[in-house]
């Protein structure tokens, strides 16, 4: 099986990040003229809406629809590009920005036209220092050639773009927390509604889209919605850059048409798990997505199929976990991440992530009983849907899914860890039966 490359088509071209090479390969030029001069903003918006392009950042909300929510009128409107790619397992935007920054800039201009915004910000995570520098250099080139600034290509449209560097906070990938980070505050999510489309950055209507989403816009304007739809299936149109990581032989970014079976992505493209090992489970959409198991490998990789299977396509990052991995340790690592990254604004998330970590530690240390799994399920239930954003849910769902798919393993771990601890406690007193039980314990 091979990839279907749209966004990554020229990614191996030397110096693609320079304006010269990007223009030579068809960037800006005719299609930007089309968006700016031939089509009206309504027509650009309509094309995006008809393409059914869905957000590539996690939620999968239709981009055109989101843009259509932006009110008309003369108020200041903004476009924000969410380049705070922090979802564990996701590294597609990094590649796009490093290798093809002008594609993103062009996407931002077109997004700006659709939203009626003339000021845009690219919120890039601070860790992507090199990529931010590349973007800055690309912006300077684009300004120099008149693709940004006042009256682009002598059209009615003006558009300014600024690269805003974050300083390390996963929560800033959440759209309203991103706005707070951009306004120079702690990145705390806001109560919704009002949604950013009505009241976002500096209280103005704001369109927020992921890097990959915006990178799709130029081709849609150039070749039309119908062409774009032909690349995917049903309501999952276009291609997807899938970041495959974890226990596979060839981790990396692979671009496929949506609807490609998961098995082909994991085995044919990424090489499958290492010799002699099997897929135990996988996160189909970043670490926030509930895990799926072997039986789901033949599902088509679409927003719908992943949702029907009880998970989500999310940011399009497949993390493969093979059968050598102990799930309690993985769940613990996962929960520690969310505990660390919880902004602390909502109690269920702040406390729930902390308690989940503590309970998983108890399991590992042999202090837990099988009843703890019930308590843990309750904690997860109390997080779900009870916070301003979905960070807490993003821990509750995958941890919950691990326990429900692999309950036996968790119970066994509890028993073995208890036996091991008991052995350590009493071995000096000589308890042969406990010693025997302890031999089977985890190391």
């Amino acid at each position: 099986m091979s990839e279907t490359r749209l966004l990554l088509a020229n990614i191996d071209e030397p110096d693609l990040h320079t304006l010269e090479v990007y223009e030579r390969l068809g960037g800006y030029g005719k299609r930007l003229r089309r968006a700016l001069l031939e089509l009206s903003p309504e027509e650009v918006l309509q094309e995006l809406e008809e393409s059914d392009l869905r957000g590539r950042g996690g939620a999968g909300f239709a981009m055109g629809k989101k843009a259509s929510f932006i009110p008309k009128g003369d108020m200041d409107k903004y476009l924000c590009c969410n380049a705070d790619e922090s979802e564990p397992g996701t590294f597609k935007d990094r590649l796009l920005m490093q290798k093809n920054p002008h594609l993103l800039i062009e996407g931002c201009i077109i997004g700006g036209i659709a939203a009626g915004a003339n000021k845009g910000f690219i919120f890039i995570r601070g860790e992507y220092a090199a990529q931010a520098d590349i973007l800055d250099a690309a912006l300077a080139e684009a300004y120099g050639r008149g693709y940004l600034g006042e009256r682009i290509l002598d059209s009615e449209h003006s558009f300014d773009l600024v690269v805003h560097r974050g300083q390390g906070a996963y929560i800033c990938g959440e759209e309203t927390a991103l706005l707070d980070g951009l306004e120079g505050k702690r990145g705390n999510p806001r109560l919704k509604p009002p949604f950013p489309a009505n009241q976002g950055l500096y209280q103005g209507p704001t369109l927020i889209n992921n890097v990959e989403t915006l990178c799709n816009a130029p081709a849609i304007v150039e070749k039309g919605a119908d062409w774009f739809k032909s690349l995917g299936v049903e309501k999952s149109t276009g291609t997807k850059v899938v970041s495959v990581s974890g226990n596979v032989r060839r981790p990396g970014n692979y671009e496929v048409g949506l609807g490609t079976p998961v098995r082909e992505i994991i085995y044919d493209l990424a090489g499958g798990p290492p010799e002699g090992r099997e897929v135990k489970c996988f996160f189909p959409g970043g670490s926030s997505a509930p895990v799926l198991t072997q039986e789901h490998l033949d599902l088509p990789y679409t927003f719908e199929a992943m949702a029907d299977a009880g998970s989500m396509l999310g940011s399009g990052a497949i993390i493969v976990v093979d059968d050598s991995v102990q799930l309690v340790g993985l769940a613990l690592r996962l929960s520690e991440f969310y505990r660390h990254e919880s902004c602390g604004k909502c109690v269920p998330c702040r406390e729930g992530t902390n308690w989940t970590v503590k309970m998983l530690e108890r399991i590992d240390e042999g202090e837990a009983t099988p009843m703890d799994l019930e308590i843990m399920a309750q904690v997860q239930e109390n997080i779900l849907g009870n916070c301003l954003c979905v960070l807490g849910d993003s821990m509750a769902m995958p941890v919950g899914s691990m326990i429900s798919h692999f309950r036996e393993e968790f119970e066994q771990h509890i028993e073995q860890a208890r036996a091991k601890r008991d052995l350590e406690d009493v071995s000096h007193r000589g308890a042969p039966e406990l010693a025997a039980a302890g031999e089977a314990g985890p190391n």
Binding site: S86, G126, R165, G184, A219, S287, L330
Partner: protein, 247 residues
């Protein structure tokens, strides 16, 4: 206001900054500093003002401004915060609230450069914790000072796991056995693991074997697979679709 006594003796030791740590209850809240009292290096002032000019609201410059000050001071020291506060005309408390929130802003003088070893989910599956521990141990053995070595959450480079960011330079994939060389180069102030950074020209992942014929010989391989492999990239991809689909 309390007078100095036993209380005062305790407070004479410098208090750590950080919102969940001790607070000086015996002092009034700091106000927006007077420009007369705080000297700001010209370069830093220009940089902060440059950031402020980019946004409709000057507060938006808080993150980049603190980043710029940290670069000069090594951390968000009270002095650094005062300098940003006086240029931006905001209270130091406002800036402290931000410095304590974001992971990359240091509220302790740990070191002016950093090594973030990613130990998040995807790296965890590839033994990242052991790599971090080996580097930390080795750094202690070799007596490296002034470097903030720590575990970090996902750095967005799971294709090169386990990996680390050395002052923003991404290196990987690493192994426990890389630790001595890694630390030696770090101590000498050179680029660590040359040739194995995402930013190095011609960087390729070890399993990125596009040049090998077997890679393009799948049953469904297309004719275009025969185009020559590009010299660099980091994604482990192989040649794919016709150029006609070019974006």
């Amino acid at each position: 206001m309390q007078r100095a006594g036993d209380e005062g003796a305790i407070r004479a030791t410098p208090l750590p900054t950080g919102w969940d740590e001790a607070v000086r209850l015996d002092e009034d809240a700091a106000t927006v500093p007077d420009p007369v009292d705080v000297a700001v290096p010209d370069e830093l002032r220009a940089e902060i003002e440059g950031h402020m000019a980019k946004y409709p609201d000057r507060h938006s410059a808080a993150l980049p401004a603190l980043g710029a000050a940290q670069e000069r001071h090594g951390w968000c020291s009270p002095e650094a915060i005062a300098q940003v506060a006086v240029v931006m005309q905001v209270t130091p408390a406002y800036l402290s609230s931000i410095a304590t929130f974001y992971d990359m802003l240091r509220t302790q003088p740990i070191g002016s450069s950093y090594v973030y070893v990613c130990t998040s989910v995807a790296c965890h599956l590839r033994n990242a914790k052991a790599v971090h521990d080996a580097i930390a141990e080795e750094a202690e053995r070799q007596g490296v000072e002034g470097v903030d070595i720590r575990e970090f959450e996902c750095l967005g480079a799971c294709d090169m796991a386990p990996m680390a960011s050395v002052d923003g330079r991404y290196v990987g994939p690493m192994d426990v056995s890389d630790a001595p060389e890694f630390v030696r180069q770090l101590k000498e102030g050179r680029d660590v693991l040359p040739g194995r950074s995402l930013e190095d020209p011609g960087f390729r992942l070890p399993w990125d074997t596009r040049a090998q014929p077997e890679q393009s010989a799948g049953p469904e391989a297309r004719g275009e697979d025969e185009r020559p492999p590009a010299p660099d990239y980091a994604g482990g991809d192989r040649p794919g679709t016709p150029e006609g689909d070019a974006a």
